[in-house]
Structures are given as structure tokens and as C-alpha cells.
Amino acid sequence: MANVTLRNVRKTYTGGFEAIKGVNVDVGDGQFCVLVGPSGCGKSTLLRMVAGLETVSGGEIDIGGRVVNQVEPADRDIAMVFQNYALYPHMSVFNNMAYGLRNRGMAETEVKTRVDEAARVLELSAMLERKPRQLSGGQRQRVAMGRAIVRQPKVFLFDEPLSNLDAKLRIAMRVEIRKLQRRLNTTSIYVTHDQLEAMTLADILVVMNGGQVEQIGNPLAIYEKPATTFVASFIGAPPMNLMSMRTEEIKSQLGSAGEAGILGIRPEDFVITDQTPAGGVALPLTVEAIERVGAETFIYGSRAEDEQRVAATPGELPPGEVIVRVPGTEAPAIGQKIRVAAVRQKLHLFSGDGRTRIEG
């Protein structure tokens, strides 16, 4: 049981590339922290620095009140689950889980107790004698988890552990990981590029971009109040609609609320209506495409006037396109002209460069 604190952590590779540009994160005891961001944002590097697999160029990594910058991975009291599981292919499931314990000189009876207990929890008891190649992807994933939990470490580290699984299994394992972590109450740091995984697993969500932290907080708080346009478009699927407030149409409706900024509206916050809510925004759209997924329908519309949308990556929509989510399967026909509106409380206002959120 320990908290993990990163103080102004930096990583500069030989050659001068700055992968991590000063990160401050504080993960409390027993909390589940998810690092999320697009590929190349430095989230995996940061995790590997916590594990001790990468050296730290600057700042401090503190696990349970001890600065571990110079401590070997084996002595940091952490366990890691790798993306490709990294099971020892020549060892049985039992030996895979027992290896780390035996290396620490644990008595064989205690090793057996711990491995059997972990196998029971993970429903692996029937396959302890099998080799990893005789297991399915999901079972290998469990063995990798088992190898981590038998150690009873202070911190679990997960490096995109679900990305090699198929979609259904991923959801099932996601729930299992969360339940397991709740029960063991072990501080965890989890890296993913999947915003859905991030939203569902995290106590603390850390959104990273370009080696820096964009926003830290409770996942729902981040969803409701993204600090930057990057976070706004990265968290949430489909992404938030972002448009420039320079256009006459929006400016006239919002008045002085946000001069020359960026307006963001989530697809689910639109309503198809002829009315304009007070202080809100209404947009005329031409329906371009319809996606029905059963419980909800996404309407892709183009804005009436030909205006340049502001740039936002990733998951960016083409300029002038707006996504509207409506419940059920009722939808207008393609080519039809509709009018959508969002109330004042559902509008997100950002500064012109997208780096600051404007409250109010």
C-alpha cells in the first residue's frame, strides 16, 4: 500500500529528444490512475520510468515515501503487466507466476499458497501445468495478471494490457481488472490509448499530449469540463464538435460571452428543435450521413455557411461538419435541412489557441 508521486519528472533521450517535459502527478494510496493520450505522447515512457525500466533525466519518482530514481526495478516493490504479456514461454503457468517469488527466496510452501490463491481468483486453477502457448489470449492475460498479484506489490503497473485482445474480451477483462483492483486495493497506474478504457477504469485520469499533462482529474469532471480543446476532442466518442466563434452566426447568438474563441458542443448535447434556447446556440444543418447503432443514432451534418472549422486533433471532424447524437433510431432523411440547438450550460468555451477554458 503506497502512494506514487511524480515530481517534475523529465525524460530526455541521448540525441536531445524530450519525451517527458516535466510531469507532476500524485496517485493516492489504493487509487487507480490511468494515463491516456495518443501514441507518442510519452505515457508508456512515463510508466516504464516508474517501473525502473527507463532512467529518469530529471525530477523525482516517489513510491510510498521513498525516492526510487536509482532503485532497481526488482527492488521498487512494483509489478508490471505488459502489452504482449511477456510470459516465459518455456515455463508452465504455475512457474510463470512463481518465478518472481522464488527469485526472492520465498519458501516453496508459501509460493504454492500464493500461486494457488491467485489462480483461484483468476480462474486459472485448471491450467497451472500448461505452457503459455497452449492458452488463449485472454488466459495469457490472466496469467500475466496473476504474476503481478502473487507478488503482493505496493503498485501495479499496466502497459496497455488489453490491446491484444478482441473487442468483447477487452470489455470483460476491463471489468475484471477493475474489480480485482478494488478488492486488492493496490495503487495502480494504467496506460492506454483507448479513451473508453480510461473513462471506465480511472479514479484519476491523466490526459497526456506531447510529453506533457493536459489535464488531471476525475474522469467525469474531465468529461464535463475539459481544460483544453485537445482534451475536449480526445475524451468522448464521437468527439466534441469544435467551431470558431469568429463566425457572425455564432457571435450574434453568444454576444460578448467569448470573443474570438472556440466553441465546443458535445454531440449528445444537441437537440433537434426550431427554438433557440436563451443564451444557447442554434445551428442550421444539412444532413450528410446517418449512422444507426441501435440505442442511438449519429447524424453527420454540414453547416449552412462555408466556414473554416478550427483545427483540433485527434479525432477531428472535417471542417464545417457537425455530429449530432439522438437517442433511438428516429432520424431525418439524408439531404434534409434541420436545425439543432444546445442550451447555455452545455456550451464549452475555449480561448482562441485552444489552450485555456473560459468559464462562465
Binding site: I78, F82, Y88, P89, N103, R147
Partner: protein, 282 residues
């Protein structure tokens, strides 16, 4: 492959049988000749069917040797060859797997130059460096010894390269998982890398054992005592006789016996050998 129809399939089979006959006939002749009376062979009247002297010829070959004055029983030659081939094969594998481990997993000054120096020794087989090598072995008083037979042949750039290539395909995560599991460099080598290399080691063993078994020039140079003679050198010496007929049945029996250990090694290791060449799962 799609099954081919009648005529074309027979043609293919006939060609294959001809190929087998060409390869197998000399071996057959050797076996037949080793069971016949020497006088018949010397007269040029050798039959293509096995003769009746199998047991006496092989008994003489293994336990007595030729009738010449410097005769040496073949079991002793085989023992010498076996010790040399085993020392070379095991020694080469041990040394090259350790050097490959050093080159792949450790960062030390001049790592790449050292790798290239090892690589360049591929161009310097024993035949090229035979004089200096002989001088060194002679100065170390290793003539007529197993050490002298095996040591100069024991370093192998080929095997080092093979292990290096194999180690580079082992995922980094295995090393990282080992580090987190508290295994140091030696533990990782012993517990993870060696077991994973098992099939590669078997494949190399087959190749290197046969290479060692078939050594001729080097043993010929450094063995002067008859009781240190290897079988390959022994066969050659049996053929050249100054004052008597060459005892062809004994020579052929020796040749047949010389074939047996490599055949045995290949048959015993075949399964591992093939897996070592084709296995991809890590």
C-alpha cells in the same frame, strides 16, 4: 500440393529413385566390400552381393586393426574422434552462446568493433592460419592431446552469429519482466535464455558434431602417436601401404564405422534439429 496424375507421377518417382541410387550406391559398395575376402577384391572380382566375412572383418577392424606393423584398432580411433567431436561441438556452443549473450545484452565500450572482429574471423578458418596455430599448440605442449585436437577449433563465429540473431528475436519484454521478477543477468541467462535456445543448441550440435567428426587436416598435423589418431586420418593411413596389399575389407569396414556416429546423431536429434531451424514461437 495437388496430386499429379498417373504418368507424370511415375516419371517424378523414377527421377527420385535414380537420385537415391546415385547417392546410396557408394555406401552400398562400401558395406558389400567390407564383408568380402581381400584376395577377391584385389583380383578385381568383387561381387556386388554381400560376402560371408562380415563378422571376422568387423572383429578384426574394431579390435585389432590392419595386419601392418603400425596397426591400431579402430575402436581407439573412434574414441579419439568422438572425444574430439564432442569437445568441439560442446565447446563451440558454450563459448558462442556466452559471447552472443555479451554482445546482445550488454552495453560496453567497443561493443560493435568487437562484434565485427568476431565476424571477420569467419574468413580465417584453420586452413588459413594453420602455421601460427600449429606453433602455438606446439609451444603449449598440446601436440598429441585432446586439448590440442579440440581447442584451436573451438571458437566459432558462425555459432556466435546464429545465437546473436536468435537473441535479437527474443522480445525485450521478457528481459524486462525478468528484471521486475528479480532475476539478475546470470539468472536471466540461465532461467530464460538457455531454455529458449534449446532447439537452436540442438541444431547447432548436429552441425558442429559432424564438422568436428570430419576434421582431417588438423588432426593429421598435430597427432604423431598412433594411439591419438582420429578415424578420418586412420582410414587414409590404412590405404597407403608400402610393402603389402591394401586390406580393402578392413578399410571399407572402417569407413562404414566412421559413418555411424554422425548418422546416429542426426537420427537422435532430428526432431529437435528441424524445430530449431523452423520454430518461431517465443
Amino acid at each position: 500440393m495437388v496430386e499429379q496424375e498417373g504418368f507424370r507421377r511415375y516419371v517424378a518417382h523414377i527421377i527420385l529413385w535414380i537420385g537415391i541410387a546415385i547417392v546410396a550406391f557408394p555406401v552400398y559398395i562400401a558395406i558389400v566390400a567390407s564383408t568380402q575376402d581381400n584376395a577377391l577384391i584385389a583380383n578385381g572380382q568383387m561381387s556386388l552381393l554381400p560376402g560371408g566375412h562380415f563378422f571376422e572383418v568387423y572383429y578384426q577392424t574394431i579390435f585389432v586393426g590392419t595386419s601392418g606393423s603400425t596397426r591400431e584398432p579402430v575402436y581407439n580411433m573412434m574414441l579419439n574422434s568422438l572425444v574430439m567431436a564432442l569437445l568441439i561441438a560442446v565447446g563451440k556452443i558454450a563459448i558462442s552462446i556466452i559471447s552472443a549473450y555479451g554482445i546482445v545484452y550488454f552495453r560496453f565500450p567497443f561493443r560493435m568493433p568487437i562484434f565485427w572482429i568476431i565476424f571477420i574471423t569467419l574468413m580465417l578458418p584453420v586452413e588459413v592460419r594453420i602455421y601460427p596455430t600449429y606453433k602455438i599448440v606446439a609451444d603449449l605442449h598440446m601436440l598429441d592431446s585432446y586439448a590440442g585436437l579440440a581447442l584451436p577449433l573451438i571458437a566459432s563465429a558462425t555459432a556466435t552469429l546464429l545465437f546473436r540473431q536468435f537473441f535479437m528475436t527474443v522480445p525485450d519484454e521478457l528481459l524486462e519482466a525478468s528484471r521486475i521478477d528479480g532475476a539478475g543477468p546470470l539468472r536471466f541467462f540461465w532461467d530464460t535464455l538457455l531454455p529458449l535456445s534449446r532447439t537452436n543448441m540442438a541444431a547447432l550440435f548436429v552441425i558442429l558434431f559432424i564438422l568436428g567428426w570430419n576434421q582431417y587436416l588438423w588432426p593429421l598435423l598435430i597427432t604423431t602417436r598412433d594411439d591419438m589418431q582420429t578415424i578420418q586420418v586412420g582410414i587414409r593411413k590404412m590405404i597407403t601401404t608400402t610393402d603389402a596389399l591394401t586390406e580393402w575389407p578392413v578399410v571399407m569396414a572402417t569407413a562404414v564405422l566412421a559413418m555411424l556416429p554422425p548418422v546416429f546423431v542426426v537420427v537422435a536429434m532430428q526432431k529437435l534439429f528441424v524445430r530449431g531451424l523452423v520454430e518461431t514461437e517465443k
